[in-house]
């Protein structure tokens, strides 16, 4: 089977799943058991969504949110990746950082929003820092695990072929740890989305998908909430499937280091 054909089929399956879920929702919304203001029908949500897209407000909201997510995500890679590698390579670093990681990791990023607001004020900085906090640990943890699980035989073989520390690192350890690193990035990005919406509800003003949702409750605008949720889901889906999916296909799947599920 050609990869293109497989991809078309997997896209078709994804659409079927989404259509089915939408049909169930629509049936519930039209059943008459719920107030239309609380459970708007899909056409209503779609109208609201297109209206907000047409006048540009939704694009601005999504743009702000995306900016905060990508900024925080990038920061978490810049910090988490080297720290994870250093933890796995140098025991003193591991001994020093591991208790800190273990203590900080379980704190929900949402619980830090009020504190960060005091420190960084209302707006971009707080939300970016919350995203950064939420994403750093999955990146760091998976990198740490990945580097430690690099097959020692690769290191031995590379050493026998004259690889020095520097090239061992770039040409063996990084690609060898890549299945874990990619998984870490994936988890981190998901956490970014969860964190940004929560942070925006409290710590953002005027712009951002989280803020729109929170603001809409004042006016009982469930359709705006739903429209914003659809945008969040849509962007998340695009990143998950296109960005991380392609990254996996181009690397670890092509190398046979990670396989697709059978059947």
């Amino acid at each position: 089977m050609t990869p293109a054909f497989t991809r078309i089929r997997s896209a078709r399956r994804a659409i079927i799943t989404l259509l089915l879920a939408a049909a169930v929702y629509e049936a519930a919304a039209r059943s008459g058991y719920f107030a239309p203001a609380l459970l708007p029908t899909i056409p209503t949500i779609a109208t609201t969504l297109f209206g907000m897209l047409a006048d540009g407000t939704m694009l601005w909201h999504a743009g702000y949110t995306l900016y905060r997510v990508l900024f925080g995500f990038a920061l978490s890679i810049v910090v988490g990746l080297p720290l994870g590698i250093m933890m796995a390579r140098f025991q003193p670093v591991e001994r020093f950082l591991l208790p800190l990681v273990s203590a900080l990791m379980p704190i929900p990023s949402f619980a830090l929003v009020p504190l960060f607001m005091l420190w960084f004020g209302i707006g971009n900085l707080t939300t970016i820092m919350i995203v950064f906090y939420a994403a750093t640990f999955p990146v760091l943890f998976n990198t740490w695990t990945g580097v430690r699980s690099v097959n020692p035989l690769w290191l031995r073989a590379a050493g026998a072929m004259g690889a020095d520390e520097h090239r061992l690192f770039w040409k063996v350890i990084i690609p060898g740890a890549s299945p874990f690193i990619i998984t870490g990035l994936r988890q981190a990005f998901l956490r970014c989305w969860i964190a940004v919406v929560g942070a925006e509800m409290i710590a953002a003003s005027d712009w951002g998908l989280g803020w729109v949702i929170f603001d809409a409750k004042e006016f009982l605008n469930a359709d705006i909430m739903m429209a914003s949720l659809a945008v969040i889901g849509g962007i998340g889906f695009v990143f998950e499937r296109l960005v991380f999916g392609s990254l996996e296909r181009a690397t670890v799947m092509r190398w046979g280091m990670m396989r697709m599920a059978k059947g």
Binding site: N151, L153, W154, R156, A157, A158, G159, A160, M161, G162, A163, D164, R167, K171, V172, P175, G176, S178, T251, R254, W255, G256, M257
Partner: protein, 251 residues
């Protein structure tokens, strides 16, 4: 002067049940371009000894000299092939794997591609240069590993049961191929195996080791013309002789 000198080499290590003498006072020489097999039951220290020659392990006593120079660590004068297929880098194609050592050596891109292609041709894999290891069979992967170990032109090839995990038919093919490769490259080879027929087929000389502690029991020179016929009377005689030595070792 012999190419490799193994001088009174010992390696002891601690286990929960006490100190174990993995290799105990082993000495022998290996000549330039000689194919030497280390044979013995598991636990006789043959793989440990190979790892000491490779420089991955430091002996607790004695020394290894290669070309007169004392071994203090791994070096590019030795190529190593392991038993495990997973030794190849999965993120590199067959060609990329074979080029690795040349890359480390600082050979230019065009030159190293040319050398690597030739090496893959030597192990009859010219059709699979762009394949990733996971698309290759176990036997092919081990051929890539041999090509990879030879590519940067080490004087010594160290092999640790490279065909032990292959099926019998593939193993026979691989032994023939290795005999051809050795005839063409004339490397000094140290080859660890527990398979007596394999040793008689490949080796100029077989060193028989016994376990607990790991010592050299005897040395048997195989003076059969190549290519060898595994079904000839003489071949079977050598096999019997080695099995006899090993049988005594077990008793």
């Amino acid at each position: 002067m012999p190419h490799i000198e193994v001088r009174d080499v010992s390696l002891a290590y601690d286990t929960p049940s006490g100190r174990v003498q993995g290799v105990d006072g082993v000495s022998f020489d290996i000549d330039q371009s000689e194919f030497l097999c280390l044979v013995g039951p598991s636990g006789c220290g043959k793989s440990t000894l190979l790892n000491i020659i490779a420089g991955f392990l430091a002996p607790t006593g004695g020394e290894i000299r290669i070309g007169g120079a004392r071994v203090t660590g791994h070096g590019m004068d030795r190529g190593v092939v392991f038993q495990d297929f997973a030794q190849l880098f999965p993120w590199r194609t067959a060609l990329g794997n074979v080029m690795f050592g040349l890359e480390m050596k600082g050979v230019g891109k065009e030159e190293r591609e040319k050398i690597a292609l030739n090496q893959l041709k030597l192990v009859k894999l010219e059709k699979f240069v762009r394949s990733y290891p996971h698309h290759l069979s176990g036997g092919m992967q081990q051929r890539v590993a041999i090509a990879r170990a030879l590519a940067y032109n080490p004087a010594v090839l160290l092999m640790d049961e490279p065909f032990a995990a292959l099926d019998a038919l593939t193993r026979d093919d691989m032994q023939r191929l290795l005999a051809d490769v050795w005839r063409e490259t004339r490397k000094t080879v140290v080859y660890v195996t527990h398979n007596v027929a394999e040793a008689v087929y490949l080796a100029d000389r077989v060193v028989v080791m016994t376990p607990h502690p790991g010592r050299v029991k005897s040395e048997v020179a195989i003076s059969l013309a190549r290519p060898r016929d595994p079904l000839s009377i003489e071949f079977l005689e050598y096999q019997k002789q080695l099995l006899h030595q090993l049988g005594q070792a077990a008793a």
